[in-house]
């Protein structure tokens, strides 16, 4: 279980991993100290392992920088929940083994206690006593996520064939 951190629409990769920390990209622990700084400056220092990032439309728009989802994961975030995701960000999440869940995040408020059940495809909002369904990932992405991301997948199979 973890707590919901609410964000609005159009959270760009420049808000998640700002260009002013470009030089820290090969130092992920340091870069993680600035995760989502552009959107909520207090987030990086207060987020707890197992918490959730909960946002509106088009989360992760902008740059292809995989550092954005990576530092969200390194910060201990269990999953990112949004009404919709930008394409490259979504794919990056799955590749690094960070669940990116598309659901109606209007049903979640700041601080709600959430539980993610990937198998059943539901987010349980313990605070509100509600369950939110989410659609299954396309089979190829589901398989990559289940195997722990694309690096683990390729290490195991030496191929992309699924």
């Amino acid at each position: 279980m973890g707590k919901a951190w609410k964000f609005g629409d159009s959270i760009s990769t420049d808000l998640i991993a700002p260009g002013r920390y470009f030089h820290l990209r090969s130092n992920l622990p340091e870069l993680t100290k600035h995760v989502l700084e552009g959107a909520r400056p207090e987030f990086a220092s207060q987020v707890q392992s197992g918490d959730f990032v909960v946002a509106g439309e088009n989360f992760g728009l902008g740059s292809s920088r995989e550092h954005a989802p990576t530092i969200i994961k390194v910060a201990g975030v269990k999953a990112v929940l949004a009404k919709s995701f930008a394409r490259i960000f979504f794919r990056n999440c799955i590749n690094i083994g960070l669940p990116a869940i598309t659901c109606n995040t209007d049903e979640i408020d700041e601080g709600d206690e959430l539980e993610l059940d990937m198998e059943k495809g539901v987010v349980r909002n313990k605070t509100k006593g509600k369950e939110l369904d989410f659609p299954p990932l396309p089979p190829v992405m589901n398989r990559i996520l289940q195997e722990g991301g694309l690096v683990a997948f390729i290490k195991a199979h030496k191929s992309l064939e699924i």
Binding site: R65, E66, P138, L150, V151
Partner: protein, 418 residues
């Protein structure tokens, strides 16, 4: 069976069978590249995968363009890591000073009908010559480099038809800003955009590349143009006419949506802070004082763009209350601008010209914005904090708007000075 879109044709050729939009397929990749912001992580991922060799080293490029030359020790070390790995793996290195990946790709490597994956979201710029270029993250590109393949969903296509003659002071930048403003920053997420019509046929490859480049700002996976005589002439000028091939959507291809734009009715447009789809007519934005004008980037850093700006600045001096930074997209553009006097025009006017590369666009160096500062840039993005301080403001416009603004010190309509 109905006809095929450009995307369906290109992707089908790369997986050895006919495909339709919506299918997930594994495709052969013709060209893979990374840049210095994403490349170090790609190298790390290749090592983690236990695959340290490139499947096709000659068609794998490491571009050092974002921090070019390096302004910090950490980045110098990243550059060394990329140079060293490239040397050992036989990968082609495009070192600092050679300029932006996507423009080097158009000049030297990309061919119509190719599938190109780059660890940079603006890899869709390659669509200007009919190559299916798409941006991915470091891990995806690591796999593509090592295996020569990637997986992708065949995108549905939106056909964008642009007819009419662009009025004075209005350029391809305004066409794509108009489109993004109309359909929104996620209006084409997961889709391919295909551009056609009289206005597009009459357009240079440089102007097309501005539109292809910003397709991702509407969420699109690719922004494609039909290779035509202009494409052939462009490739010929780059010394590689043999790369040309004809390829186009079938008459009866299925397009998920059709969008029409009348070029005659367009005005210079501005994307206001802090989102690219916050598009307004220049006549509607009021008085906006500017601290920095930035001309360049993968979106508007080609010779044609520099010519547009220089023609307005020629014989004038920039407003003393701002700085004007010009960053040519590639070494080739820089050299041509040097030879034809364009660089001299900028310098005479009081602008400064940097080494070619991505420049100030993503807040690494060469024009970082301070607290409260305002920039008018020809770049593709204006997200909050992108160019430096979290409380700075980025407005996007065409190169003529940039030059007019440079003269007055506030965002200005180029039609008044042309």
């Amino acid at each position: 069976m109905t006809g095929k879109t450009l995307s369906e044709k290109i992707i089908g050729e790369h997986c050895g069978r006919e495909v339709k939009a919506g299918e997930v397929v594994i495709v052969n990749v013709d060209l893979s590249y990374v840049q210095d912001g994403t490349g170090p992580l790609t190298v790390r991922r290749m090592k983690e995968m236990g695959l340290e060799k490139a499947y096709n080293p000659k068609k794998t490029i490491f571009f050092l363009d974002h921090a070019s030359p390096s302004p910090r020790m950490e980045l110098s070390n990243d550059h060394e890591l990329l140079r060293d790995f490239a040397r050992k793996a036989g990968i082609t290195l495009s070192d600092v000073g050679n300029g932006i990946s996507h423009h080097n790709s158009l000049e030297k490597y990309a061919c119509p009908g190719d599938i190109i994956v780059g660890a940079d979201s603006h890899t869709c710029t390659n669509g200007a010559i009919g190559a299916f270029g798409t941006g991915m993250g470091s891990t995806d590109v690591a796999a593509a480099i090592a295996l020569g393949k990637t997986w992708m969903k065949v995108p549905e296509t939106y056909l964008v038809t642009v007819n009419g003659r662009l009025p004075k002071g209005v350029y391809s930048k305004d066409i794509i800003l108009h489109l993004i403003g109309s359909i929104s920053a996620n209006g084409a997420t997961y889709k391919a955009l295909e551009f056609t019509g009289d206005t597009i046929s009459d357009m240079s490859t440089a102007a097309r590349s501005t539109i292809a480049n910003m397709s991702v700002e509407a969420g699109a996976k690719a922004g494609l143009f039909t290779p035509d005589d202009e494409t052939r002439n462009f490739l010929k000028a780059m010394g590689r006419e043999e790369a040309f091939r004809e390829l186009k959507s079938d008459e009866d291809a299925e397009f998920e949506k059709r969008i029409e734009i009348n070029a005659n009715e367009l005005e210079p447009l501005i994307a206001c802070p802090h989102l690219v789809d916050n598009v307004k007519k220049i006549s509607e934005i009021g008085k906006v004082k500017v601290d920095e004008v930035f001309i360049g980037t993968s979106c508007n850093g080609r010779l044609e763009d520099l010519h547009i700006a220089a023609s307005i600045l020629k014989g004038h001096t920039i407003n003393p209350n701002l700085r004007v930074i010009v960053t040519p997209a590639s070494r080739r553009v820089y050299m041509e601008a040097l030879r034809d006097g364009t660089i001299e025009t900028f310098m005479d006017a009081g602008a400064l010209v940097t080494a070619s590369g991505c420049g100030a666009c993503d807040g690494v160096h060469l024009g970082i914005l301070g607290d409260g500062e305002v920039c008018l840039a020809t770049q593709p993005r204006n997200f909050k904090g992108r160019m430096g301080d979290a409380d700075s403001f980025i407005y996007l416009g065409n190169p003529a708007v940039a030059a007019a603004t440079a003269l007055t010190g506030e965002i200005s309509d180029p039609r008044e000075v042309m």
